[in-house]
Symmetry: C2
Subunit: 547 residues, 2 copies
């Protein structure tokens, strides 16, 4: 429609630029070029040099023939090269595909094939994987990062050493702005429990906006010091490589999570912010007090992946770490909801506070919405804290779609919402609370049992460090809850004691019928692998309600 507010007022170069997080790097290099960008052992690099290296990476990739819209995969630890990949690869117009370093060769080969990667940059720590990949994909260009181990492994005979490769790039390379902010910036495979992994595509606009949302939620000041406890291969480190660049902050890199190393870095580098799954937070909360000595500054911790246990919430508060609980999944760029703290929560006792904080919360700052809908009708559930529905997101912080999978994309976005597959309720204050991942619901004698509720009861037992509950087939009831528990160091408990404990808190049909002791299988991000437990419990039911 032609109106006075639209005629001759089209977008033009002077007043329109695609939103891209690459610009955060460019600005930090321009304005805060001398400030530290990367800290990693002896490596100290400022924003100017980091920008130059990213330009070189982009230029070097173009020179070996990588063109716009092609995939460049990386199999890297949380090292400086991984930060550079988050900028240098999209600066070549390419799409960054970060691979989970804990996966088996078969799965990685699937992803490299499906994502049509032209180049793979790999850390020499993962030489055995590289060997298999090179054998199966002789066409793939391999670059290697020889940080912990030299690149003399036969897998790297034909490969390009990263620093030498960078040298081939032009430090003044005029990197490409995406021609449209809707262009892909990253490809992240979900670790689905069934079927082939799906390739989740992020675009520049979403990456930009979620990077800013992270700042807004954390009130994260300029020059914050961010510690890489969360793998960057997981949802692009929840978008934090871009967030840190937007703040001209410091990336404190860390190859391997280690509790003592984390406290040492918090002390020596003045780390102010870090992220991690509950298992990470729990390990820090339960560390010996003397490891924390000398740390008196404010430290903010973000937890997601699962609700933090009440004991972890309490303990983090005790040691003076400020915990923010966020919720999301790969399809929404990592954190996309937050349990936003209200001022009057400070008056609550620890138990009530923990209950409030364990909820998944409200939409993230620049996300349009998160709510709980009936998965069939897409009608909102009442905010009664009881009616279960499916958690759904909408807005700019939802993926572009699944790669080469239009039917899964359609299904995921059915009705104008992204369907998470997670079940939840809407609380009277508007906060969502997960009752269960839909796969995790246990149906016993026609009654639904929330595995989270059973796990909560287990966590109240003083000897239990980690607990997970899955369905176990049962002749009479169809399914019954089966508990898997890790005990705290030096603690003991019997199956009968634990079942007796659960009876105090749960209706009879919800009490686990079996308790299995031992270390729980976890993903690289500390999430308990329930599919593995289900296999152990002999449960093979495929529940696809709302999934």
């Amino acid at each position: 429609m032609s109106t006075m507010y639209s005629d001759n007022l089209e977008r033009r170069e002077a007043n329109y630029a695609p939103l891209t997080p690459i610009d955060f790097l460019a600005r930090s290099a321009e304005v805060y070029g001398d400030r530290p960008a990367i800290v990693y052992g002896d490596v100290r690099r400022n924003w100017r040099d980091t920008y130059s290296r990213c330009k070189q990476l982009a230029s070097a990739l173009r020179r070996i023939g990588v063109s716009s819209g092609e995939t460049v995969a990386v199999l890297l630890a949380n090292t400086p090269e991984m930060v550079e990949a988050h900028f240098g690869i999209p600066m070549a117009g390419a799409v960054l595909n970060t691979l989970n370093t804990r996966l088996d060769a078969e799965t990685i080969l699937f992803m490299l094939r499906h994502g049509e990667a032209r180049v793979l940059i790999i850390d020499t720590e993962f030489a055995p994987l590289a060997e298999r990949i090179v054998a199966e994909r002789p066409d793939l260009v391999i670059g290697f990062v020889a940080d912990v181990a030299p690149g003399v492994h036969p897998a790297f005979a034909e490969a390009l050493e990263y620093e030498a490769f960078l040298e081939t790039g032009d430090v003044d390379y005029l990197w490409e702005m995406p021609s449209d902010e809707w262009e892909a910036i990253a490809l992240n495979y979900t670790s689905g429990t069934t079927g082939d992994p799906k390739g989740v595509i992020y675009h520049h606009r979403g990456a930009y906006l979620n990077a800013l949302s992270n700042i807004l939620e954390w009130d994260m000041p300029k020059h914050s010091v961010y510690l890489w406890t969360l793998p960057m291969f997981h949802c692009n480190g929840w978008c934090f490589p871009w967030t840190v660049a937007a703040r001209a902050g410091v990336n404190v890199c860390l190859r391997k999570f280690d509790v003592k190393a984390v406290f040492d870095l918090i002390r020596t580098e003045g780390v102010s912010h870090f992220c991690g799954a509950p298992i990470v937070q729990s390990a820090l909360a339960n560390a010996p007090g003397e490891w924390r000595e000398g740390i008196s500054h404010r430290v903010a911790a973000m937890v997601a992946g699962a609700a933090p246990a009440p004991s972890v919430i309490a303990r983090m508060k005790e040691i003076g770490f400020e915990l923010t609980h966020t919720y999301g999944l790969t399809e929404v760029y990592g954190p996309s909801a937050v349990c936003a703290e209200q001022s009057d929560w400070q008056d609550l006792d620890q138990e009530d506070l923990s209950k409030k904080m364990a909820r998944q919360g409200v939409r993230y700052h620049l996300q349009s919405g998160v709510t709980v809908l009936d998965p069939e009708t897409l009608e909102p559930v009442p905010s009664d804290g009881r009616t279960v529905g499916e958690v759904m997101f909408r807005g700019n912080i939802c993926m572009k779609g699944y790669l080469k999978n239009p039917s899964a994309t359609e299904e995921a976005f059915r009705g104008g919402w992204f369907h998470t597959g997670d079940l939840g309720v809407l609380m009277p204050d508007g906060y969502i609370r997960l009752t269960d991942r839909s796969k995790d619901i246990i149906i016993s004698g026609g009654e639904n049992i929330s595995s989270i509720e059973v796990e909560d009861a287990l966590y109240r037992h003083p000897a239990i460090a980690v607990a997970a509950v899955v369905a176990m087939p049962d002749q009479k009831w169809g399914e019954v809850p089966c508990a898997f528990v890790e005990l705290k160091e030096g603690c003991q408990a019997t199956e009968l004691e634990i079942i007796g404990h659960c009876r105090l808190f749960l209706a009879g049909f919800k009490v686990p019928k079996a308790v299995v002791f031992g270390e729980l299988p976890k993903t690289s991000t500390g999430k308990v692998q329930k599919f593995e437990l289900r296999a152990r419990a002999g449960s093979v039911r495929a529940i696809d309600f709302g999934d």
Copy 2:
């Protein structure tokens, strides 16, 4: 081009929402509904109620026939209704046109006509203006805000009282998202010194992004308390109505700037942030110390409109207010560059620090660029601190264009940059420094004289409170500098003394040939009205170099 990263991956409702600052209000109402949004005398209103009132305003406007893309003008002081106008009017799909309350009726009538306003909301304080407007524009729907004066003035006989008008609106009105983030949200007339005012159009995308930039520059935490010392009619209060909503902060409204009232509000309401022209900052800096008693919290002040004088910078630091110097103009949504402070500046002595801080700086966080170019060739000037060029901006925080003025729009955006008309240099550290607004340059015997340089010299005189220099016609030299000065209370100085003082700091040809004493004419935002001084000095030269 069809690629695997674009096929079947178009934007859809679930994963794309237009960027609009209205959403900041919606989220604050959802998440922080009980928190204070508005403080104004006895009026205390939370975010939920503020959102409801804005929905009512939008609904009421629709009911009287306002439709999408129409203009609604307001002539309001910094009252709660002015905050509401920033949301309720665009929520009706309309465009907000804030009018400068200090303008004469003739100019306002021009703007109402040119902007094609259907509705005008006016404060009863401006009844004489309303009378004239009603007489000339009987077709205009008038709403009045009877806050300081009842609406019994004859001008309001046919007008709608604001609160009653709100009552006609639906509190559950489903407000309109803009169908495109490129749609207009606001119309702001520039107070050009020659010719008719130009109507600068803001779009939702730019308003959203600059509101966020304000947060990023100030490291502004959630729930900040913002005091309205800056008129909201000026570049939409530098986008701060939207910024405060994005932070679920508090709008402390203030009808009239008054130094003592400001300190009282800082103390009683815990004001943490405010903005103002140098004259505002200067008035606060020079206030009696006892007015500040009891204020011990951090207060951040943003200054723009002109570089703050060194003495103001020093004094603000002394009284513990943190000053941020930003630069911009109506066409770039207010602040769009910032003199970003570097950590090593803290080691500078006060004079060197003031020199650094008086510069206009670097691009704002979410703006793409600000630089100094040769206005003819558009080549960058060397960053030598000496070569003068024109300051230019580019990026999402540039206006959509001028209303019904395609030739001015084309000219302003020539060559892919927004031309500010301000002259400046690029410093070796990449910061821009204004040498002069192009209109303000004085050409004497073929030499350019920067009026800013002469003003700087004048400000070094201990008796001078405010100084402004303009060109005065001269038989021999063409033009010579003429100084207008306000002396500090209780201070005295003669013309000869001041000229002698200037000789200490300036080359002979730059020394003012005349000094005029007395109060300087200022705009409502405290900017000295040089066009008025030029008239007094008898200078009528129209300099349109790069303008």
